[in-house]
């Protein structure tokens, strides 16, 4: 029970009475310290799922538990949001204050924490995302990747065990995406549970576990290697596979003897050059 930080039990959700289910019978358990990527094309229900975990939306049917707390339990609302912090897609629309450190302090200030403790948390969070030198800057003068790191720091300052990111890199340039991914990998190695919702297969490859969603249900679930082997299935959901995996599969079709689960360029190079 306790080793799963997030338990989703047969959850269904629809936005309107008459609309179709955005999430249609999803069950998913996430272990503490795990780095999970959820992929799926637009409208596959992945962002809705994230909001269900954070209690921003409540399931129409089924239950979501965060650290054993039921998200539909009103009295646990703030504990749930503190445990599972959420970072959104648009970096501009989630920063509240005009100074970086003030923004990071926003979460703990809401929790009613002692000023000296807030100061300590803000400094720790800034250092964790490598933005300490920028603490006095106004956010609108930062790059997209930096703004997103500030948003992540804002969640860290809440002392969240789990960080849910809803397409955090969708609006960033490649270097900004790299910054964010490196930050996430680092936080994960320090024990944070990461749930990354993304469009980019290169990012999903970096996770411990990949969940593929389509039409509100989970279609594939496993390690990146297990999932990306199923090229045809994934393409059927309107998604891409990592280029190197596709290349490997093409080579296999041409008669080369290669393992079918290659997801890393270096891995393929090593095998081909043997």
């Amino acid at each position: 029970m306790s080793e799963y930080i997030i338990k989703i039990e047969n959850v269904k959700f629809k936005y309107d009475k008459d609309s179709d289910y955005a999430v249609n019978g999803v069950s998913l358990n996430i272990k503490e310290g795990e780095f999970t990527a959820i992929i799926g094309h637009n409208g596959s229900g992945k962002s809705t799922l994230a909001k269900l975990i954070n209690s921003l939306l409540l399931p129409t049917e089924g239950k979501v538990y965060v650290k054993g707390m039921d998200t539909s339990d009103d009295s646990k609302l703030w504990d749930i949001r503190q445990t599972a912090g959420m970072v959104f897609q648009n970096p501009d629309n989630q920063l509240v204050a005009t100074i970086v450190e003030e923004d990071i302090a926003f979460g703990p200030e809401n929790q009613g924490i002692e000023p000296s403790e807030i100061r300590r948390r803000v400094d720790t969070a800034l250092n964790a995302v490598g933005m300490y030198e920028y603490r006095k800057r106004p956010p609108h003068l930062l790059s997209g990747g930096q703004k997103q790191r500030i948003a992540i720091a804002g969640i860290l300052a809440l002392n969240s065990d789990c960080i849910i990111l809803d397409e955090p890199t969708a609006m960033l340039d490649p270097s900004g995406r790299k910054e964010v991914m490196e930050t996430l990998k680092k936080l994960n190695s320090q024990g944070k549970t990461i749930l990354l919702i993304t469009h980019y297969m290169d990012e999903a490859v970096l996770a411990d576990r990949v969940v593929v969603m389509d039409k509100g249900t989970i279609k594939l679930d496993g390690t990146p290697k297990e999932v990306f082997k199923n090229i045809d299935k994934i393409k059927g959901f309107g998604l891409d596979v990592p280029q190197v995996t596709e290349l490997t599969q093409e080579l296999i079709k041409e008669g080369l003897d290669l393992p079918s689960d290659i997801i890393d360029v270096k891995e393929l190079v090593d095998i081909l050059c043997q």
Binding site: F88, N93, G107, H140
Partner: protein, 265 residues
Amino acid sequence: MFKNLTIGQHYPVESPVHDLDPRLKIMMTIIFIVSIFFIKNFTGFLIVIGFLTLSISLSKVPVKFVIRGLRPILLIIIITFLINLLMTPGRTIFKIGFINVTEEGLKQAGFMAVRLTLLIMGTSLLTLTTSPIILTDGIESLLSPFKRFGLPAHELAMMMTIALRFIPTLMEETEKIMKAQKSRGADFESGNIVSRAKNLVPLLVPLFISAFRRADELAMAMEARCYRGGDQRTRMRQMEIKNIDYIAAFVFLVYLTAIILFRIW
């Protein structure tokens, strides 16, 4: 072009005036405004000018910045001057057609112009020496006693903070939309006022729609970060009264006493 926009006119240097507690500065400014209306003749202004000179030199803000603050209300000063000049009855100095300038009029006009100028210079010193964010904190703290009468002090301050945060973002966006619409042939520069105003529609509609979308997303992000209004909320930055505040309050009291004594005497 909006990238380096500074909001308000804050002049960031380190000075004793910058260091003062914002609450004290706001209260002093309000009393300063009132004090100016206590003065009934030109010699009285010497006290105000003396106090202002002291404050400005201590604040290390260049005088030209303080004077620049007058520019937006220059027109009001001129109009006030002219109305007083022409409308005050009394001993005529000279007369051209219907224009009749009296000695009393000239005195009154000069008096009003000096009063307005000093008023604006004094108040702009507050915004020049206090960053908007600290000013907001000060206003929130000063208004919080009125919470019991239903005044939403925290909400007002939060609105100001968010406005300050989003002004540059929306400015950038305006610029982007303008470029996008210009590239499709929109014309924002020519025509008379009416047609220019009409041409702004394709700029304002997308801007408003985007602002509403932003507001929606921001609200969700704030909720996700446990925002639940001002109750039980703490602040990282604490305001505290320091020695310099006592000194400033003392100097200000001396100034105020001088004004009152001068009035009675």
